[in-house]
Structure formats: C-alpha cells, structure tokens
Amino acid sequence: MKTLSNVLYITSPEVYLSLDGENVVVRKDEHTSTRLPLHNLENIVCFNWQGVSPALMGACAERGIGLAFLSPNGRFLGRVTGKVYGNVLLRKKQYLISEHESQCVPIASSFLIGKIYNSRKVIERALRDHGLLVDKDTLGRASAFLKEILKGLTTCKHIPELMAFEGSAAKIYFSVFDQLILQQKEDFHFEERSRRPPLDNMNSLLSFLYTLLTNEAMSALEAVGLDPYVGFLHADRPGRPSLALDLMEELRPVFADRLALSLVNRKQITGKGFTQKESGGILMDDDTRKTVITAWQERKKEEIEHPYLKERIPFGLIPHVQALLLARYLRGDLDAYPPFFWN
C-alpha cells in the first residue's frame, strides 16, 4: 500500500514558512527556525496569519503536496493547488453522472450506507465498552432504528428519499449523542448540532475535526483526479466542496465523532480550553487545538484492515483509498462504490 506521508500542521499564528532547497523552513522569529524535508510530506495545513513564501507554494504545487490555509480558528480560507491531476475524461464522467439523478443514487446511497453503518457502530461501541454507564434501552433502540434505516436505504430510488432517511438517522443519532459523553458533563454536553458558529464546546470540537477531515477528503479526491466541488449527494453550490462532503459522510463517525468522544471521555481536553464569545460562539485555544491535532495524527497512524480491499492500512489512508475506489467505479472497473465499513 501507499505509505502514509506526513501532514505538517502549523498552529502558531506568528509563524512564517519558506523554502530552502528541498526543505520547508518554519520560522518563528528571527532566531528560531525548524527545517523539514519536503519529500514524505503529503499536506501542509496552515493556521497561521503570516502565510508561506511563493517559492514554497510553487514547490508544493510541483510535488503535489497539498497546501491549505485556515484562519487560526479553523475556518477554511483557501488552498494552493498546482496542475490539475488526472484525466479530463474522468472528470467529465463525474459531471455527467452528477447531472443524472438515477446515476447519482447508487453512489449517494453507498456514502449514506457507510455513514449510518458507522454511526450505529459508534453507539454499539459505547454499549459494548460502557454498558453499565449508559442508558442501555435508549441506545439500544437508537441502534435498532439505525439498522432499519440502513435496510431502507438500499431500496431508495431518488435523492430526496435518501435525504429523508439520512435526516431521520441524523436526528436519532444526535439525540443520543449526549449519552456517549461520559466525563466532564458540566463542560461537554450535546443537545443539537450547531455550526455557524458552534454554540457549545462539543460542537466546536466537532466542527474543528470536520474541517480537518474536509481538507483530507479534498486532497484525496484531487490526487485521484476527481473534482471535489461536484457531488452526487450534496447539490452543487458555488464554493462548496460537495464531493468532499459526500465522501466525508461515511468517515465522519469514525474520524471525527468517535475521536471527539474519546478526547473528552479520556479528559485529554478540558472545558478550560474553550472560550465563549459575546455572540455565543465558541473559540478553541491554541493548546487544545494542538492536543486535538496530535490525537488526530496518532489516529491516522493506527492500522486497520480495509473491509473491501482486505489489506491492512493506516487509518490516515482511508480517505485516499475511498477516493481511489470511487474513481475506479466511475471508470467502470467496479460494479458499485464500496463504502468504508468500520468494524
């Protein structure tokens, strides 16, 4: 399998990045700087204000290293990409399919089958690991309900129908999500999903993890030559990476929800790391963000067996493998798009 390359996250706002030969130089002030070789880097994600030198942008573009800019709060600002990867014929096929609902449905339903399977697995894990701490009946009912939805999804013929199933699944899943938070209940609780801005600590944490995942999904899609902005489930909207959001559906429960829960339940982060602004919106502090990113990177290194390929791969490669399988389906090599099932 492809080796999992590193992602360089720049979390201090006052850092500047430049290029020296085959290295990226991270400069904090005039005296302190770190050098890292570019080869083996897959992505550079910047949460810094100062940015990077044009020479480094060029080097990243040339080597296919993703370079993304986010505000220190984790809001996506932009990406630098080089030559478009892959084949214009593949992208045209993607556009063509996106225009025909009947051809979108099988792909969209795979994404959602993966999502709901994996959401259910998050609940099942809590039942298995913390059977005495959780409300077994409620969680059991939610799990059974999701299983029914899962079966229903396989017979859907239209996108709105799929969306309706997804809506009910999300409702039931998030209605029991608070019960999966077992520690620090005074600081972390969950009522409903809020995004712009996140209105509580848990939502703020989830939003941040979703941002990291979006970036990985976009890079993976670009690397296999697909257009992250043209989706099959999510409708096209200028500026919205619809296909990246599609691809993320099945990965959210595993990559983000589950990680958010363990960070809180293991007390790796605390309520002190979050500040509520006057508007009600929540900001995460630097140290907490660093802790989250470290946990994220550790998670990516863990190995699992890919359910379809039956090959052991690090977690971090899953977005790449799924993007590849999607491209293989669009090219006609596979009879359907195989979602990632978390076991």
């Binding site: 492809k2 014929l89 399977y117 396989t154 359910p307 039956k310 090599d333 099932f341």
Partner: protein, 222 residues
C-alpha cells in the same frame, strides 16, 4: 511526406515502453494522467537529468554526439526526446546544418538497470530511430542501448520484426487514447516493482468481489 497524425495528436514516445510492459500502466499514466514515483523511477529520472543537456554537443574522433534531441514521427504519431544521437561520418548519411560531409544518425538510449528479457528498451530505441528516419530521410540500421548497471552499451539491430512491433504498438496506443480507455488489470509478478501499484490496485479486480454483495453482506451483519 504522408502525415497520418497532426501535431496535436502526437503521443509521448517514451510511453511505448510502458505500453509494452503493461497496457494498464501506460493508460494510467497517459490516459488518466496519474503518476507516482518509486525508487526505480527516481533513479531513472536522476540518471536522465545527468544525461540531459540540449546545449551540449561533443565531437569525438569525428563522431558528433548530440544530447536531448527532440524527435517526432507523424506516421507513428509519436514524439519525444532522444537521450543522445551519434552522427558518424558515412556516405549513406545525411547533411546536417553547420557541418561538412554526410553523417549517419544513431540513437543512443540510457537506461538505469540492466538488459531486460522483454524487448521494451529495443522497441523504444527503434521508435526513436524511426522518428529520425522520417525527419532526416535516411535509413538507420542500428542503435545503442546503454545500461547504467552494467555500464555497457549494446548495439541493437533494428530489423523488420522490431519495426512492425513499433508500428503495431503505436497504433494500439492511439486507439486506446482516443477511446480514453484504461484496460483491465492482468496481475503479474511485475506489479510488485510497478510504481503505480497503489493507483492501479491490481488485487481489487483480481478478487473480483462484487461490491453489491459486499454492501449487502455488511448491511445485514449485526
């Protein structure tokens, strides 16, 4: 000169060796525009960087050595760059700009490894010779392959069989390219040394698991 292909339609000549090695590999690179480097390809690239100097022309014992010579054949529909072309003084040769007398061009191709059992390198060399023949209106009976590992060059006789193979391959490459077609995989031992193995996923089709069954099986699990 009969022109079967337009300048717009020319395919990279270097692809002919990929095509012969594995048609799917060629299609992944040239139709799907995917590329991944591994140790072997990186070594090859570095070696070519050393050889590559279009402004370097050397005269040694009356032999003119030109490096990085751009070539094309509109009949084959291929274009590329010859690592080196040796021009030897010969009455069968051609006049070249700025030189006295006649010279016979002989293509020289540099390879990082050692001679292979399949004629992939010979075919590439022969295609280069056919380009030179078309451009210079001359017949080129032989060329050289230089191998980095053995540090030796071998003369290659460019016979009819090789020329027909070049023609056939070039024709097939164009047919695939026009259809935008990526052939199905035929997994082999060679897959292990292929730099595109992670893009190709040869074993995905080898197992030929139906995705529909895979989904059904997981959804019905408890």
């Amino acid at each position: 000169m009969p022109r079967e292909y337009s300048a717009d339609e020319l395919l990279p000549l270097s692809g002919i060796q990929h095509f012969l090695f594995c048609r799917r590999q060629w299609a992944l690179i040239h139709v799907e525009m995917q590329w991944k480097e591994n140790v072997l390809t990186a070594e090859g690239r570095l070696m070519h960087q050393r050889v590559d100097d279009p402004f370097f022309t050397e005269v040694r014992n009356g032999v003119i050595l030109a490096r990085s010579v751009p070539i094309a054949s509109y009949r084959l529909g291929l274009s590329g760059i010859c690592d080196a072309v040796e021009f030897t003084s010969s009455p069968e040769g051609v006049k070249i700009p700025g030189r006295e007398g006649k010279y016979l061009p002989i293509p020289v191709e540099y390879k990082r490894g050692r001679p292979k059992s399949d004629p992939v390198d010979e075919v590439q060399l022969c295609a280069q010779a056919m380009c030179l023949e078309e451009m210079l209106s001359v017949s080129i009976p032989a060329g050289y392959l230089y191998y980095g590992e053995t540090r030796h060059r071998t003369a290659v006789n460019l016979g009819n069989e090789l020329r027909e193979l070049v023609q056939k391959m070039a024709g097939e490459m164009h047919a695939y390219f026009e259809r935008g077609y990526t052939p199905k995989v035929k997994p082999s031992k060679a897959c292990r040394s292929c730099s595109l193995i992670d893009i190709c996923l040869p074993n995905v089709q080898e197992k030929a698991t139906s995705v529909a069954n895979y989904i059904r099986e997981w959804v019905e699990r408890d």
